[in-house]
């Protein structure tokens, strides 16, 4: 059905139950707008967004042959899309709709019925004058590259990659370290079920490696990202590992024969590894890498034993770094976290007392594959510590000196640590210093209770005020805020639950992606409740601790949600892009160039030949910066023209 009548506009006023009608007198509004220029119908409904409400709108559009519609209801951020569809179903262009927000901007913020009613009338008049000038628009179609980039191969990146790949789409998983697995690979057992971390993780790592849809790129980093949702172009730097992964069969003879050792990062420097190494035995891929900073051959030209012993000749000292360009349609950020370095916390003996370690180091001590084979021995002399203090909230919840946020996982892993310690050192005594216990989560409170009751962990509520060495012991002083008295415990080892903070590479990644991060460096979600896995940049999704401190269950469910969003995006061959974007009137534009640098999305370009600015319709997000900047009046914002805005102002002031 096509309507050619000019200006047949209908107004639909919503009561929103009583949300609007209790403060705005609908009858008065209807009277005031009857006969308003251009208006040919005005009616109301208790819930315009309900099915009967929408039926009514559709019927009226057809019966009255309306060509544009004003719906006076709640904020357009809620139902604009609903109503656009309604218009489309009734046969008129969805962009001939205007929402007059008389709820958030009127009924909810006023109590005086008279004032609110008058204001509602003004708001609707303004919407009418804009609606009369709305052009019919068609969404812009953009092709989608159905391949995803996942940055970071911790459990978040692994989960997201597997979910996307299992849905039939290609994935490039980029991990900066030689193996995927992230922090979860370092953990011993996991709260609250105490299942072995590696046992539940490694088969997924292997699945990633074997998956035909996943292109795993380790020892790699993303260096450039351009483009936009559905059409990103990324450059990935493959760092030098000096081992040709194609030739290597993973036999490991090189590692065995390498004469030089250095601290193992994976074991948090509690053990040594060879210079040609895999971070841990179950590393995926199973290909060793050479640590160029310590390799005798690379540093001094001596040795080269690995090359000599390697059967397939996979060692390539002359290897160069490589840059790979890929096109992807969506990006998942799963760059995870770091723990705050204990060297930066001297007040807790960090960096000076060898038996003060952080939680991840203790995970390694607990781990059967760790430096002590799972026996609890302290770093300084290998003795079994008979008393251990665990300190929670180190640098977290400390806005004066460090970070104001809660690191979320420390309460639970400290319970786990104390409990596992007690399981292994039967006559040992664990103490936990805490502010309060946050055990919200399935089975978490029970887990904490078990630690404090069954495993006789001594919980001391209070912050540590001083920590020092005395007679071979470490003295931890604090105030027990429950007993209101000072306490001092003399222990053999201290484990600090240091703050979780974003991977330090994050600001670079955020810049590459034009995605925003919060004041602590964690990626910001588009909406904290309703769009929790989308970033502020279309087509870029968030997973795991890159977004906020969280435990494995939350990481995995978030990663699956992010994967689902990616699959959603890939479900169609093209994307629809909002058409309410900027345009250039070429008859007016003088090519002054002012708008070009103003555009935050790099959507504008100067065509020097034609002497006009052009707009890349796909890149344009319709922010309006160019329209405000354009000095000649050539830049227009579709359906937000100067003429529309001034007619709205006139309608309000009239």
């Amino acid at each position: 059905m096509k309507y050619s009548h000019a200006n047949r506009l209908g107004i639909f006023i919503c009561h929103c139950g009583v949300n609007i009608s209790s403060t705005v007198d609908i009858e008065t509004v209807k009277k005031a707008l009857t006969g308003y220029p251009g208006v040919s119908l005005i009616t109301d409904h208790t819930y315009t967004c309900s099915n009967p409400g929408q039926d009514m709108i559709r019927n009226k559009i057809r019966e009255e042959e309306l060509d544009s519609v004003v719906i006076a209801a709640c904020s357009p951020s809620l139902h604009e899309n609903t109503f656009r569809k309604t218009l489309e179903e009734a046969g008129i262009n969805p962009y001939k709709l205007e929402i007059a927000n008389i709820r958030e901007q009127c009924s909810w913020v006023h109590s005086d019925r008279k004032v609110a009613t008058e204001k509602a009338i003004s708001i609707i008049k303004a919407a009418v004058s804009k609606a009369l000038l709305n052009e019919p628009l068609t969404p812009i179609s953009v092709p989608v590259t159905r391949k995803a980039l996942v940055v970071g191969g911790g459990i978040a990146g692994i989960q997201a990659s597997l979910n996307i790949a299992n849905s039939g789409y290609k994935v490039i998983l980029v991990e900066k370290e030689p193996s995927i697995g992230g922090k979860m690979a370092q953990l011993s057992e996991t709260f609250p079920t105490l299942d072995c971390s590696q046992c539940i993780l490694t088969h997924r790592m292997v699945e990633v490696e074997r998956h035909p849809n996943i292109n795993l790129m380790v020892s790699s980093e993303v260096t450039r990202i351009s483009g936009f949702v559905g059409n990103f172009e990324v450059t990935i730097r493959k760092k030098k590992t000096y081992v040709n992964a194609e030739k290597c069969n993973g036999c490991g003879i090189c590692i065995e024969k390498c004469p030089r050792k250095t601290d193992s990062e994976f074991d948090r420097a509690l053990s040594k590894r060879k210079v040609i190494y895999r971070p841990f035995p179950q590393a995926v891929p199973n290909i060793p890498v050479i640590d160029g900073e310590h390799c005798l051959y690379l540093l001094k030209g001596r040795c080269g034993v690995c090359r000599d012993v390697c059967g397939p000749g996979a060692i390539e000292f002359e290897q160069e770094e490589r840059f790979v360009k890929e096109k992807v349609g969506a990006i998942v950020i799963a760059t995870g976290y770091e723990t705050f370095p204990i060297e930066n916390i001297p007040e807790y003996g960090g960096g000076t007392i060898p038996d003060v370690i952080d939680g991840l180091a203790f995970e390694r001590i607990l781990s059967a594959s760790g430096p002590t084979g799972g026996e609890i021995r302290r770093p300084s002399d290998g003795k079994v510590p008979k008393e251990v203090a665990f300190i929670q909230c180190v640098c977290s919840r400390d806005p004066e000196k460090y970070f104001s946020y809660c690191s979320k996982v420390c309460c639970m892993y400290t319970s786990k640590h104390a409990m596992l310690y007690k399981h292994r050192v039967k006559d040992g005594q664990p103490y936990v210093f805490y502010i309060d216990i946050r055990a919200g989560g399935k089975g978490y409170e029970e887990f904490y209770q078990r630690a404090s009751e069954e495993d006789e962990v001594l919980y001391i509520r209070g912050k540590v005020s001083r920590l020092y060495r005395e007679d071979g012991k470490i003295v931890v002083e604090g105030t027990d805020t429950l007993l209101q008295e000072n306490v001092a415990v003399r222990v053999d080892m201290v484990v600090l639950a240091t703050a979780i903070r974003p991977s330090q590479d994050v600001s670079r990644i955020a810049q590459l992606l034009k995605a925003s991060v919060d004041e602590n460096g964690f990626f910001t979600e588009a909406h904290p409740k309703l769009r929790p896995v989308e970033s502020m940049t279309a087509g870029v999704f968030l997973a795991g601790c890159a977004q906020a401190p969280r435990d494995i269950p939350d990481t995995v469910s978030g990663a699956s949600a992010a994967a689902l969003m990616v699959c959603n995006l890939f479900a169609s061959e093209e994307l629809k892009h909002e058409p309410t974007i900027a345009g250039v009137d070429e008859d007016v534009c003088s090519g002054c160039g002012i708008c070009i640098g103003v555009c935050p999305y790099e959507a504008r370009e100067l065509d020097r030949e034609k002497r006009v600015a052009t707009v890349n319709e796909v890149l344009c997000e319709g922010c309006g910066a160019c329209t405000a900047a354009c000095p000649s009046g050539a830049a227009v914002q579709r359906n937000f023209t100067d003429k529309q805005i001034s007619s709205m102002i006139k309608a309000i002031l009239a």
Binding site: C589, S590, I594, V598, A628, P631, S632, A634
Partner: protein
């Protein structure tokens, strides 16, 4: 009353440059003079107001009025010419937009008088005597036209049919405009008889523009050397070219001076000054508010710069007029 069309020229508050622009037509002027009957042109010919009054309403084909509306005499003559003419053309920036005299609106009338007749260097006027509209002397009564509260553009007191912009309008534009009007093939009413793109479009310096223009510093033209072929704005010197209608012949740019905006904005822009302000504030190269404030404070006379020619017809002035019905069109 057949014969050649009757044409009138009149000047209000202007500098004489617009009259000069007509004389500048040189031999073309003679040709025009041949085709028309100049019935009123105070600067060149000895006709009086009374002569104009004898015409029938609409008898004059076209009146070209230049200069801003400053005094009661300007009101009176404009009303009279409007009545007697079929077409009225606002000639030059002052009649078109209020022009440089319009900057007087930044002060009120009394302040202006005191400044002009009292506090001026070299003037001794301890009693603060200011001009009066009526003085009685032994010789008789002397009257002077009153000075209006504010300066106006011509279309703010009478209906104007066409505009020839410029300070002063360049001869070729004047010639074309006169030809068009006399040809009888009239452009839409209210047209500005100049191209409707802004100056950058035909600026000889345009090729030097970088891909993106940002302002790190705002430089004053008197203190820097801008090479003849460089875009002023890109060099950090405010140039009103982006917000000013083209057609001027780029005389200022040729003299290595940035555009000051005398042609007014394109027809798509209402307020030239605020448009320029919003354009340049968009390209200040800083996200820091303090730095932006520092940069802005280096513009010494923003109103004088952004509204050099258009203050009386700026949005603010027009809005003020609306609230004050006494200064609405024709009600002086």
């Amino acid at each position: 009353m057949a014969g050649k069309p009757k044409v009138a020229f009149y000047w209000c508050a202007g500098c004489g440059g617009c009259e000069e622009a007509i004389v500048d037509l040189a031999e073309d002027l003679l040709q025009v003079a041949n085709e028309v009957d100049i019935v009123f042109w105070p600067v060149a010919m000895d006709f009086k107001k009374e002569d104009v009054e004898t015409f029938k309403d609409g008898e004059i084909a076209v009146s070209f009025i230049n200069g801003a509306i400053r005094t009661e005499e300007h009101n009176e003559m404009s009303f009279l010419l409007r009545k007697k003419s079929r077409l009225v053309v606002a000639f030059g920036s002052c009649a078109h937009l209020g022009g440089i005299p319009g900057l007087a609106n930044l002060s009120d009338r009394e302040e202006l008088f005191l400044r002009l007749y009292g506090r001026q260097e070299g003037i001794e006027n301890p009693d603060n005597v200011v001009p009066k509209t009526r003085v009685e002397r032994r010789e008789g009564i002397i009257t002077l036209p009153g000075v209006n509260e504010e300066v106006r553009a011509l279309n703010q007191i009478i209906d104007v049919d066409y505009y020839i912009p410029g300070c002063a309008p360049p001869p070729n534009l004047v010639k074309d405009a006169i030809k068009t009007i006399l040809s009888g093939e009239l452009p839409p009413e209210g047209s500005i008889l100049a191209p409707d793109k802004t100056l950058c479009d035909e600026c000889p310096r345009r090729e030097s523009k970088p891909e993106k223009i940002f302002l790190k510093e705002i430089k004053r033209i008197s203190l820097v050397d801008v090479p003849q072929d460089r875009c002023f704005l890109a060099e950090g010197v405010f140039c009103m070219g982006p917000v000013t209608r083209k057609g001027c012949g780029e005389r200022c740019l040729g003299a290595n001076m940035p555009c000051r905006g005398c042609f007014g904005p394109s027809s798509y822009v209402t307020d030239q000054g605020s448009k320029f302000l919003s354009a340049v504030s968009s390209i200040l190269e800083t996200d820091d508010e303090e730095e932006a404030a520092r940069l802005s404070s280096t513009v010494l006379d923003p109103a004088g710069l952004f509204y050099m020619f258009s203050l009386p017809s700026s949005l603010g002035a027009v809005f003020k007029d609306r609230k004050n019905p006494n200064i609405l069109k024709g009600s002086f």
